[in-house]
């Protein structure tokens, strides 16, 4: 059947050459090359479950009185948005299951990107000719975080309203344009009647379309450039060795697809996430403590908590302090990540094309930088729940803040030192084991002689 379809297509479009090569395309056999696919499959889960949720979600601010089955909120006034999320959670068959799968898949989507990026970074896979795909990957990471935040903000429960208020305050902190940008994005003075409508459209159309576009271009470039590969016998800069796309790789990647779906379903079924009915509807004057965002926004939350209050005053104007952790930091990090491949090529004087990957130990400075960066982000992330830790350890919150500030500064330095030295040490130890590759030849006299192999 499919064979006839292939022949039918070839008659009309001449697909034989392309598909012949596509079916036989070589995929290097290394587990870490499949990390990126986790994100692709999580994205598929997100689109499928998101479509289901969109059939019931109402992106409205209008006030309604809750009359559903959840007794603790019955009779309360709330927005249509929150009311519809409660309806999905308690009344739509499998609604809560799908909502939780959606939320878990979002967490996996961003986590998968981070892990995938780590593999790309530490193996030097971002080097020429793959700089553009690195940049698209960074954009997808930030797009994923933004998309996750808009989704978290739409139900209009107390947590989402507070998170949104903080985001709007950050937008408002931008010099020159902040106030105008805030009024244009939100539609006026907080809280506005139009914001959920705009978040909804952004969340279900604009961002998914951009992410789908990013993934498509990412994969097309990958397809065109072919996979990088680890060094090994017969592997060179000019070839790529692996198992064929069809059927070997297809079977493996399908296993991964089903695995991702199974994990999302298991988490959605058995591990509660964002129980919005517990927080109650967003009311401007109410807050909740402790309050933490989704994990992938945690580093921003931490940065907001521990950054010093560096407001800058001019006559008649000011730059409020959230500008530094809320705007400068994330965009600075983004630019740093964009620039990394080019800066490294410059510093190492290596602008050549690389299809054979490094091991992390091969380039100690890069590994050190990666460890330092990871520690910096982890520190910010942990600082995002410093109030909970202060309560748990019975420490004053000021000490926690001071500790995290110091860790932000010294942690990465220490991380660089450790990363650099561990990598350099492993590399040096490798050297002693590295024998010249030779071919043994038995001579007619019965002895052996060595012949070097290129």
């Amino acid at each position: 059947m499919i064979r006839r379809l292939l022949l039918w297509s070839d008659d009309r479009f001449g697909v034989a050459t392309f598909l012949h090569h596509a079916l036989k395309k070589a995929f290097p056999d290394h587990w870490s090359f499949m990390l990126g696919e986790i994100n692709l499959y999580a994205f598929i889960v997100l689109v499928a479950t998101g479509t289901f949720l969109a059939f019931w979600f109402v992106p409205g601010h209008a006030n309604v009185v809750y009359e559903g089955p959840y007794a603790f909120l019955r009779g309360q006034r709330m927005s249509e948005a929150y009311d519809s999320v409660l309806h999905i959670s308690f009344e739509v068959n499998a609604g809560l299951l799908i909502r939780q799968i959606h939320h878990w898949a979002a967490n996996i989507f961003v986590a998968g990107i981070v892990v995938h990026m780590g593999r790309i970074f530490f193996t030097g896979s971002f080097r020429r000719p793959r700089e553009l795909n690195w940049i698209i990957g960074v954009l997808l990471l930030f797009a994923g975080m933004f998309e996750g935040f808009t989704g978290y903000s739409m139900p209009d429960d107390l947590m989402s309203g507070i998170g949104l208020r903080i985001a709007v305050s950050i937008l408002q902190s931008i010099p020159f344009i902040g106030t105008w940008a805030t009024f244009f994005v939100t539609g006026g003075v907080w809280p506005t009647e139009i914001l959920i409508q705009r978040l909804f459209f952004t969340h279900v159309f604009i961002m998914p379309a951009l992410i789908a576009l990013g993934i498509t271009v990412h994969l097309m470039i990958l397809w065109r450039q072919k996979h990088a590969q680890f060094p090994g016998p017969r592997r060179t800069e000019e070839n790529v060795i692996g198992s064929p796309m069809f059927p070997h790789y297809t079977a493996k990647t399908l296993a991964l697809l089903f695995g991702v779906i199974a994990v999302c379903c298991a988490l959605g079924a058995f591990v509660q996430i964002n129980p919005v009915w517990l927080w109650g509807p967003y009311q401007t004057w109410r807050a909740i403590s402790p309050a933490q965002p989704d994990w992938f926004i945690g580093w921003l939350e931490g940065a907001l908590r521990i950054s010093p209050h560096w407001a800058i005053h001019f006559p008649g104007h000011m730059i409020p302090s959230p500008f530094w952790p809320g705007v400068v930091l994330p965009f600075g990090l983004m630019i740093l990540l964009f620039a990394y491949p080019f800066v490294e090529a410059k510093l190492r004087g290596d602008a050549a094309e690389h299809n054979l990957l490094n091991r992390p130990r091969d380039v100690p400075a890069r590994t050190g930088f990666g460890v330092a960066f990871t520690i910096f982000m982890l520190t910010l992330f942990l600082a995002g729940s410093d109030d909970v830790q202060a309560r748990f350890f019975h420490l004053p919150i000021d000490d926690m803040v001071l500790g995290y500030r110091l860790l932000c500064f010294f942690g990465p330095l220490l991380g660089f030192w450790i990363g650099y030295n561990v990598a350099a040490g492993l590399k040096a130890r490798d050297g002693t084991h590295e024998a010249e590759r030779v071919r043994l030849k038995r001579t007619p006299e019965g002895g052996y002689e060595e012949e070097p192999v290129a």
């Binding site: 903080i166 079924a269 950054s307 409020p320 959230p322």
Partner: protein, 270 residues
């Protein structure tokens, strides 16, 4: 049929059981866990099947792809550039028309930005004032009005201008300080904007032992006994203080609006 085949068959049976289970649990509306368990069975079955197939049924094969090496194609590069240059030369034969074309495009780009202006009202002075005015009484979220002796020493309440319950810009926290603490209090009463000057969260916690108003979002702390000056945390300026007065019939009223913009800072604020 060997053991491996039986294992794959078992995985497929798991998936089949899951699909049937989903139809049953969904039909009977058994809820999140049962419906979810059925889906897990479906996909775990498929996962194990695909793994088994990949490991045991497919025989290992290796393929070698050769990469295109770009610098080799020097001739094609030259032809590409030539074709491009040729096209550009054709298009730009009339210099002044080309310039006019760019200008027209640029102007449309500018015009296309104008609809952004409809996205929201201009800020004007909206962030510089709230709904508080002299003589407006203080109302709690439950609708009750505040009288001068309603709040105990050490107590706190969230209040709004009468008739504006829930208004974010105007939300205010009312605190009664012990005797001899604070300045210019109204029989111990002081009122501050409840919107944190850091990131706009409600300053929802009050610790009466040291008169601290604390924001639960980023732990900024303000001194209620000292014009809500910043004691700790990331906030960069104090909470604006609402002037209070008492009416002849004992109701607490505002004696004016906040003297400074409430909430997080912005460029036009000084």
């Amino acid at each position: 049929m060997n053991r491996r085949d039986r294992a794959i068959a078992g995985a497929l049976l798991l998936s089949i059981a899951g699909s049937i289970g989903f139809m049953v649990t969904y039909g009977k509306q058994l809820g999140t866990q049962w419906e979810g368990l059925a889906l897990v069975a479906v996909f775990a079955g498929f996962l194990l099947t695909a793994l088994g197939w990949a490991r045991w049924i497919l025989k290992h094969e290796e393929v070698i792809d050769l990469r295109d090496t770009y610098p080799d194609k020097v001739e094609e590069r030259a032809q590409m550039i030539e074709a491009f240059d040729h096209g550009v030369a054709q298009l730009t034969r009339r210099k002044w028309l080309t310039r006019m074309l760019y200008t027209a495009f640029g102007l449309f780009g500018l015009a296309a930005l104008f609809p952004i202006g409809s996205l929201g009202p201009p800020p004007d002075d909206a962030l510089f004032h709230t709904r508080w005015k002299r003589g407006i009484r203080l109302q709690r979220a439950d609708g009750s009005l505040v009288k001068i002796d309603d709040i105990n020493v050490g107590g706190a309440a969230t209040v709004f201008p009468e008739g504006s319950i829930g208004d974010s810009q105007s939300m205010t926290v009312l605190v009664r300080l012990p005797e001899g603490v604070g300045n210019n209090t109204l029989q111990g009463l002081v009122a501050y904007s409840k919107m944190c000057t850091h990131a706009g969260c409600p300053v929802a916690l009050y610790r009466s032992s040291d008169h601290r108003l604390i924001c639960p979002c980023h732990q900024s702390a303000f001194d209620a006994a000292n014009d809500a000056a910043v004691l700790d945390g990331p906030a960069d300026h104090s909470l604006p203080r609402l002037p209070l007065e008492v009416s002849t019939d004992g109701y607490v009223r505002a004696a004016g609006d906040f003297p400074a913009p409430v909430g997080p800072g912005f460029w036009e604020e000084s």
